[in-house]
């Protein structure tokens, strides 16, 4: 087995999940210049709701095909997260639209803690296992093993991201989003309902988060109330790495961070002569992040004003 290829594939899988979450951070930042720290918790809620739905379905119909169960979970988790994202913006951020920038930032942290606690009260502190209902098939590509689930995650992320790219670049709503990203004031004076565009931005970002939440819980085989914190932090870092506010940047940053992390996990032991083990992969990833930002403070694709959305 080729370790290098294997780690690249593992990294791409993880990276496409990071990218989906990073898009939510970057889209909101592009328009509002707000870092929505609650976004990681929206991802967690997506996973939790999906698992709860799947558990309920399996309780009633244990012989239902696994894929159908997961799809049902997704079909409920996605709208639930969209509603949650809409509500967060409406209740927690919109009243602070004209407040100093620190206020909505603190609010975001508050919302994030509230969501964690709600999840803990509803689902408890324990890890919730992802039911073993998905078919297990493994393929060998260039000497590396890749599971059906991994292929599915990569393909679905790619589809969702191309859809989003197309939405932003080619549709009426996307144009309005890009216009708002450049100037909310001018966009409103050209007839764009800015509040509506902002709401939709949160809703779309939350739908991506729900998908990512379900993916990550399927990939690791579990979910718990605290999972949104680290995932959110990584995704936010990915968005910064790519250039926050830049949609292509979030995709690139996510994939890159995933790959760096996986390579770090695979090789950190060799590099340090066994001094650091693979559980230091996060340190490795953030070290690379810092190094990139030292040389490119605005991120890889970020010029702050270029193709923001």
């Amino acid at each position: 087995m080729d370790i290098f290829t294997q780690q690249i594939i593992n990294g791409l899988v993880l990276g496409s999940i990071y990218a989906l979450v990073a898009l939510g951070y970057t889209m909101v930042y592009g328009i509002l210049e707000l870092i929505n720290f609650a976004h990681g918790e929206v991802t967690m809620m997506g996973a939790m709701v999906a698992l709860a739905v799947m558990g309920a379905i399996l309780g009633v119909a244990p012989n239902m095909p696994g894929i159908l169960v997961v799809v049902s979970g997704a079909l409920l988790a996605i709208p639930a997260c969209m509603l949650l994202g809409f509500a967060i913006e409406r209740v927690a951020y919109r009243p602070l639209r004209h407040a100093p920038r620190l206020a909505p930032l603190i609010t975001a942290i508050g919302v994030s803690i509230i969501l964690q606690n709600v999840a803990m009260l509803v689902w408890g502190r324990q890890y919730i296992p992802f039911p073993e209902i998905l078919p297990k098939s493994t393929f060998t590509v260039f000497g590396a093993h890749i599971t059906g689930l991994q292929i599915f995650i990569i393909v679905l992320s790619a589809l969702v991201m191309s859809g989003l790219w197309w939405l932003v670049q080619r549709t009426r709503l996307g144009r309005a989003m890009r216009a708002c990203a450049q100037s909310r004031e001018v966009a409103s004076l050209m007839g764009v309902n800015v509040n509506k565009v902002i709401s939709l931005t949160f809703v779309i970002g939350s739908a991506l988060a729900a998908i990512a939440g379900l993916m990550v819980s399927a990939y690791y085989g579990l979910a718990h109330y605290y999972m949104g914190f680290m995932l959110g932090l990584k995704a936010f870092s990915a968005a910064v790495l790519g250039g926050i506010g830049n949609i292509a940047g979030a995709m690139l940053g996510g994939l890159l961070l995933g790959v760096i992390e996986a390579l770090g996990a695979g090789y950190i032991g060799d590099i340090t002569g066994g001094f650091l083990g693979s559980h230091y992969q996060d340190v490795f990833a953030f070290f690379v992040l810092i190094a990139v930002l030292v040389f490119r403070p605005s991120g890889l694709l970020g010029e702050r004003v270029a193709t923001r959305a």
Binding site: L173, R178, L200
Partner: protein, 264 residues
């Protein structure tokens, strides 16, 4: 001026009634009243800081008014959201050009069509015939408007890469895309040379005819204002000090005093 007489008999389009605007203790507008008839080119002049742009901002919903009212087609538009005012038929350009610099020329105008179209997330996802037809209409209308302001062949350029004069024209095309009944131009020829100014003056007259527009014009260029405006109002320190045809305003002692100072 047969045309002007016909227009004068038509209805009043825009009524500004005793509008006041305070910023803290500073009174930027003081009981300003105007009435603009449909089809007029109405000039708003006055020294810097007289409150002209403030009045524009009150009209377009960017500022709330402290007192008074603004009616467009007999509907109150003051203290409404900017996009609601646009929906009622009020479009504007800006004193400092404010294009979406990182979008193409065409996309800038297409954003202006936003209020006259409806496709949402669902349409974008489903990509049904209705959405596609609407998108096609938006594009064609935008291209047509670009041709009317002299921007043919520039559709795919980035707006920020256009020359200054063309950016001014693009702002006008973008505003026209909202299907306005009244177009407010904030110093549209500032920074242009005399021949460019003449071209712009002709453009305003042409657009008025073709789109049956009423035009509100803030401008410092006296020659242009005298040429194209049917009526003028003069603001000074937030008060209207004179109103009338260009010939009348030109001879008004209050106006001369405001522009040249002194005048006791």
């Amino acid at each position: 001026m047969h045309n002007a007489e016909v227009r004068a008999q038509e209805n009043t389009l825009l009524v500004v009634d005793q509008v006041g605007k305070q910023f803290g203790g500073l009174s930027a507008l003081n009981n300003v009243s105007l009435s603009v008839r449909a089809g007029e080119i109405y000039g708003l002049i006055g020294p810097n800081g007289a409150g002209k742009t403030t009045l524009f901002n009150c009209m377009t919903g960017l500022y709330t008014v402290s007192s008074g009212a603004i009616h467009l087609n007999d509907v109150a538009v003051h203290n409404h959201k900017p996009h609601e005012v646009v929906a009622r038929g009020f479009a504007r350009t800006f004193q400092n050009i404010r294009l979406f610099a990182n979008m193409t020329v065409l996309e800038n105008v297409m954003v202006g069509r936003h209020i006259r179209s409806q496709a949402g997330v669902l349409g974008a996802v489903l990509r049904n015939a209705l959405t596609r037809a609407e998108e096609k209409n938006i594009r064609e209308r935008a291209l047509y408007l670009l041709s009317r302001v002299g921007l043919d062949g520039k559709a795919q350029h980035l707006a920020g890469h256009l020359s200054y004069g063309l950016q001014r024209r693009l702002e006008i095309a973008r505003a026209l895309a909202t299907d306005p009944s009244i177009l407010a131009l904030d110093e549209p020829v500032a920074g242009m040379n005399p021949s460019e100014r003449r071209d712009m003056g002709e453009l305003f007259l042409r657009l008025r005819e073709e789109f049956r527009l009423t035009i509100l014009l803030i401008e410092h260029d006296v020659k242009l204002v005298m040429c194209v405006c049917d009526k003028l109002a003069v603001l000074d320190y937030g008060c209207k000090i004179s109103e009338g045809t260009p010939q009348v305003v030109q001879r008004d002692p209050a106006v001369i005093a405001a522009y040249l100072g002194g005048g006791k």
